[in-house]
């Protein structure tokens, strides 16, 4: 197969589709389907190594197979300092690295401070986890993650099985320097519309694992990233406001990969919370979306069959371009 089938007709300008209308690139090993997956996330290059490499981490020499990142080496070594690498997902290579949290920064001799989760392992790299800059950067970034989080573990369905909680304990975070989100006014309503999955965006760390699980692994094309800057959140590709309005097939994969209490199985929502009478996770936030679910749950949301996506390219079709230009000459 040609390495890049999209471009087979790149030389034939008459009657070909403009470059920006071609479908997105399909990564190796990824299922190729006809549906448009509009995940709203960037198509990252392959950030792993091409060949077997040997790197040094805190003085220990580690040999890594091809397709490795520096984090693979860090994980294998007995490091001088803990490297949270919060947003990375080491279990399934079709998920991540998203490289959003930047709590995996380490010092390298040649490239300076690098995000270990998404930096290709290169022969001879010398990595240190415990330089003052590396520790400070990881530390500040972890606090930045917590600064956008509703840290109310006692009512959270992931209490005791939450990666953010685990990492924070391990790194002895006591008072995150930027605080946490505790003001109810600032909280988003909890999406209670689905009988299977509860979404609490106030706990989401935007690690993108759910979006990848839903699109790249399940090929269900339900979840996406939407918005920019502070408004960025997980949303639905069909533009629905609630999970029940989405095309979810309730496979549960997104919940399995979610590192926080942002996605929780409905029947486990209260499993780990402290038994305070009348105090639940939903009323701790105070606002919910979606009706109380009364009829018998079905496997799919009613929207499932509808093929609809809201995701339009950023560049509109009216764009002037020279093939239009040369047409009328």
């Amino acid at each position: 197969m040609d390495s890049d089938p999209i471009w087979d007709d790149a030389h034939d300008t008459t009657g070909t589709e403009p470059i920006w209308k071609k479908s997105r690139r399909v990564r190796e090993g990824q299922v190729e389907i006809n549906a448009v997956l509009a995940t709203g996330t960037a198509t990252d290059p392959d950030v792993t190594s091409d060949e077997t490499t040997t790197i040094t981490v805190d003085g220990q020499s580690i040999t890594l197979e091809p397709s490795s990142t520096v984090l693979d080496g860090v994980a294998e070594a007995d490091t001088n300092e803990s490297v949270p690498a919060l947003c990375s997902y080491q279990k399934d290579d079709r998920i991540g690295p998203r490289s959003a949290c930047r709590t995996c920064m380490v010092e390298s001799d040649e490239y300076g401070l690098i995000p270990s989760c998404s930096f290709p392992a290169r022969e001879g790299m010398d990595i240190q986890t415990d330089t003052p800059t590396a520790s400070e950067t990881r530390d500040v970034n972890l606090d930045l993650v917590l600064g956008g989080h509703n840290l109310l573990c006692t009512t959270c369905g992931k209490n005791g099985r939450c990666e953010l909680q685990e990492v924070s304990i391990e790194n002895e975070v006591e008072h995150p320097r930027y605080g946490v989100v505790h003001d109810n006014e600032e909280l988003e309503p909890i999406d209670e519309s689905s009988p299977f999955i509860q979404i609490d965006r106030n706990k989401c760390i935007l690690c993108n694992r759910c979006v990848e699980a839903c699109n790249d692994v399940q090929v269900a094309g339900v979840l996406r990233m939407e918005g920019q800057a502070g408004d960025m959140r997980i949303g639905f590709q069909n533009g629905a406001e609630t999970m029940m309005g989405s095309t979810c097939i309730s496979c549960g994969h997104c919940v399995t990969v979610c590192p926080t209490g942002a996605l929780v199985e409905q029947n486990l929502v209260e499993a780990a919370t402290l038994p305070v009478p009348g105090f639940t996770h939903s009323n701790s936030v105070g606002k919910t979306m979606g009706e109380e679910y009364t009829s018998r749950p079905r496997r799919m949301t009613p929207m499932y069959t509808e093929e609809h996506t809201e995701a339009e390219p950023k560049i509109d079709e009216q764009t002037d371009s020279i093939w239009q230009y040369s047409d009328n000459e």
Binding site: S3, D4, I6, W7, A10, H11, T13, P18, I19, W20, K21, K22, R24, R25, G40, T41, A42, T43, D44, P45, D46, V47, S99, A100, C101, R102, M105, G112, L113, P115, P120, T133, E136, T137, V140, N141, L144, V145, G147, R177, Y178, R224, M225, E226, G227, A229, G230, D231, M232, P313, K314, I315, T319, D320, S321, I322, W323, Y325, S326, E329
Partner: protein, 522 residues
Amino acid sequence: MAEDGSIGEGPIIRVSTSGKNRIRGREVLHAAREPTASIPIVEVGPTGIRELEPLILATYQGETAFYPQCSLMRVRDLVVALDDGSLPTKGAMAVTEHDPDTATLPTPDEGTFALGHRRVLDRSGWVVPANTHDYVASEDFLAATAADRADEWLSTLQDVSLRGRGRGDGACDTPVVDAWSTVQTVRDERESEPVVVVNANEADPNAEMDRLLLESNPLAVLDAALAVARIIGATNLLVYLNENEDLARDRVNEAAAELTNKVGADIPIEAIAGPNEYKAGEMTMAIEALEGNHRLEARLRPPFPTEEGLYGRPTLIHTPRTLAQIRSLFANGGDTIGTGSDPGTRLVTVVGDIETPLTLELPTDETLSVVKQAVDLDGRPKAACVGGVFGGVTRSLDVPIHMNALTAANLGTNGVVELFGQNRCMLSVVGNRASFAEKENCGRCFPCRGGTQQLASMLRDIYDGAFDAEKIRELLGTMRRSSICQFGQDAQRPVATAMNEFESEFRAHAEGYCPNDVCIQT
């Protein structure tokens, strides 16, 4: 009209405006065409000095008179006089003598035109944009000989070590030849087809440099781009524009069609407009937009776009500014000016507390203080922000404008110098930038999304008396060191530099007053 271009020996009237003053320019153009006269009247691009627009250049027998902000009545009179065989000079800001058929703007020796050195702007405001006759009036298309001279040019580039210009360039501040050779290596190793992207989507309204080049001499940019594409063996050339810049877009489309006609259509040139958003100019977000994503965020790196870019192909991204330097280097047979470590010139748009922004071209060994001669500022400027929205704040303009000096002074290289008068409040200046960053980032990484939020809120807290310089500095360092893309890496710079230079002003706000009575009225 002017199918043959404007370069020749006969009398001619040129009307020069930028996209910003186009409406006024068209009025003047129409007025000029009202009298029945046989002399050509052509519309040319901007010169970079916007306060003169619409600028009339009346040329007769090797003499050109400059009439700034020309009225409709005057232009009619000029046309009639010129048609009668005389060049009126009354009321002209300058009159210059030159070769009757010169292909470059005959600039006056005095005033703003005399500042700096117009090397890439040599034809801006003089040639009819996108007109190939004018373009080849004194030299041939680079693209026409690119294939034969590839080796020669590559070694020139190697010797000269020209650096990329502008935040959207794939080789920003680094030698362009390195980017070219990476693309060539990847092409050979993976047998893939390279792409050249001209990144002209600079949504910072103050950064006029790329727009100026595309509006005034689009062929120079596209010709260089096509030459580069041929040298590195690219199969596609994309020009990525800003959706709001209609004039630049029209001229690029026209120039692309002309260029294809003249030097061949082996590499299709497509002009595509992206969103008018600051972040959309970042090199990987440009690629995301070109690939048709509905939401823009930065891609991880390394590998950089030169290795894996548009649709996974090796992608060379240059701004019009870089391409103009490349053209000027090759057109001058490899000769260049400026410092050895960062040769050539830089385009600098001067904005801020002045009436009209203007763009100068300065050799890289000149210092920024030249800009003070170009503008009318009440007294000495208090400070300047150098390098665009996320540039660095400085009290001194005594900094040479090459990369090493700018970086050493913690200033930006993105070519905008914003001057601040004595009564500006520096906290509010950088506070506004922090909140711009807080709203406009792509949202992908925490040091930038969370960092700008916390930064903006810590700056707001100063007004409530809480100023913790150490805590702010710690955050700024993390943003700079660990953000994915240049947006977050640079977003901290205005605050970092302003805090160094004006810490007492920050403290004053914490104590409840604004030394300039700007944000807290006393």
